[in-house]
């Protein structure tokens, strides 16, 4: 078996928040782990365990107090806002609990959105978006507006949107949290399918059962990884 490629390397990551002048909270304390290409990793922990902070750091929405995050060998802790935005656009696909689709906008337009901030030529946008919608099984809902879609359909649109720039990591934050269990299972199946096709998926959840579908688990407690 050939060595797996390191995608994301987190080393001695610490994040502290200065709430007031005298009150400092350590949200993450000296966390180190690696994500390999093709991984299906879950990050679990209770509310306040630091999993959101970790997700923001992996998602390049935040920078650490100390330690490094290397994505494809590049240390992203020193990037400025603009470089972070570009890297996010190219390397990270977000899936949120509350879908976060643009209101009164078609499924197609929602999926195209990340392309608008990329260097992809405009003439390729539609074709690419249609392809993604097909992958998530929504080819017959292309022109429905977001408010005309069910919860499960909304999340599929969001996943199509996350896939469109072919990112290194799909970062899903409680993706089934707003769905009924049947629809939740469908989304789980979709993630599994994507992972089998070689996508790297990081699933952030407080749901221990859901976490088990991932091939690797990281459990966080009080800002530290539990062995």
């Amino acid at each position: 078996m050939k060595a797996k490629k390191e995608l994301l390397v987190v080393e001695n990551l610490t994040k502290k928040y200065q709430l007031t002048k005298d009150l400092e909270i350590t949200a993450l304390n000296d966390v180190s782990f690696k994500i390999y290409k093709g991984d299906y990793l879950s990050i679990t922990g209770k509310s306040g365990s630091g999993k959101s902070t970790l997700m923001h750091l992996i998602g390049l929405l935040d920078t650490p107090t100390s330690g490094t995050v290397k994505l494809n060998g590049i240390d992203i802790t020193n990037l400025n806002n603009k470089e972070l935005a570009y890297t996010r656009n190219k390397e990270i696909g977000f899936v949120f609990q509350s879908f976060n689709l643009l209101k009164r906008t078609t499924a197609l337009e929602n999926v195209i959105l990340p392309l608008k901030y990329s260097s992809t030529p405009q003439k390729e946008w539609k074709e690419k978006a249609l392809e993604m919608l097909k992958i998530v099984g929504l080819e017959d809902r292309v022109n429905n507006k977001s408010n005309e879609l069910s919860g499960g359909q909304k999340q599929r649109v969001a996943i199509a949107r996350a896939l469109i720039n072919d990112p290194s990591i799909i970062l899903a934050d409680e993706p089934t949290g707003n769905l009924d269990s049947k629809t939740g299972k469908e989304i789980e199946a979709l993630f599994e399918k994507l992972n089998k096709q070689g996508k790297t998926i990081v699933l952030v959840t407080h749901d221990k059962e859901l976490a088990k579908i991932a091939s690797r688990q990281i459990k966080l407690k009080d800002g530290e990884i539990q062995k």
């Binding site: 935040d62 901030y117 990329s118």
Partner: protein, 396 residues
Amino acid sequence: MMHITETIKTSLDAIFVNKVRSALTMLGVIIGVLSVILLISIGHGIQNYVKDQFEALGSNLVFVMPGKTPLSGGRDPAEAFSRNKLEGKHVKLIKTQASDFVDQISGGLQVGETIKYKTKSYYASVLGLDASGLNIQNYKYSQGRGFTEREVKSKAKVVILGPKVAEELFPNTNPIGLNVKVGTNTYKIIGIAESKGRNYDEAILIPLTSALDSFGLKNYSYIILSVKNDDEINLAVKQVKRALLRDLKADEFSVMTQNEVLDSIQSILQMLTLALGAIAAISLLVGGIGIMNIMLVSVTERTREIGLRKALGATPTNITIQFLIESLVLSTTGGIIGIILGWLASLSLRGFLRTEVPWWSVLLAFSFSVFVGAIFGTYPAVKAGKKDPIESLRYE
């Protein structure tokens, strides 16, 4: 890297989603631009009206007025009038001393008096002129004739009515040959002047000599003369001054060309027009504050959208530009609608007032509305761009 056309499309979408709100926001700018266009068009119309009135007088005219007039830098017109020394001999003096330049010359008297015919009366301004004065001022007659030099010499009691006066006193009859009372004196109507602007239409013309007699006056209100050659008008002014200085002191009269008089009045009116425009511009400013207000609300309301766009790769600049374009679209669309409405409003006033929309006022109003959108849109847009993506995504 977001393409500008896409950004504009995104902004337009956001504007259309909130149609009513966008329309109300634009209304502020629309009213501002409308009033700028309308008030400037009124001011400009008055300016051109005055200009045309002057041109109706005839060209190449030089005026001699008593004292230092306010237009030529004097202080008190009443004082100038009470110390008025202009009279018949000065007309003769100019005639003899400046004959090389002067074509025609006439003294002039202007007083107000009630004109009566039977039971009807009309308060008109009474203009006393020499026969040459009628020529200098290009009077034409719709009926009858002007008075002659002989009638002026003999102090004949004859009168030419302005068209408005004739219409008021003689709505149904032909007034030629009838008598009217000018004050206490009886004058015979010999002509009706053609219309040449309100001031003239509401006046009557009588021989200067008869006017001085009837009103018991000795001094002229002014002397008016036409020069032989357009190019020599400044020489003519010098020569007229030199002639008058033989009898009068320098501060007892002023000599001005028609253009100088026109320029002075025009500069006053220009100032008035700009003042009107500036007042209107204040309402445009208020419209701009409206835009800022709505944009701030919009930014707060769309915090999650901003967070999402940032998570998907939008840079702070992308977001700022998106919101800035939104306020620019609002303000320029409002500006364009305001210009069209202002122009229509100015057209609809044509029945009562002379209005003209000068091209520069359109340009001014438009660039001002763009400016307002940029200035008042910048703060909310920058605020949007600076929003923290994590906090924004959590925003409920």
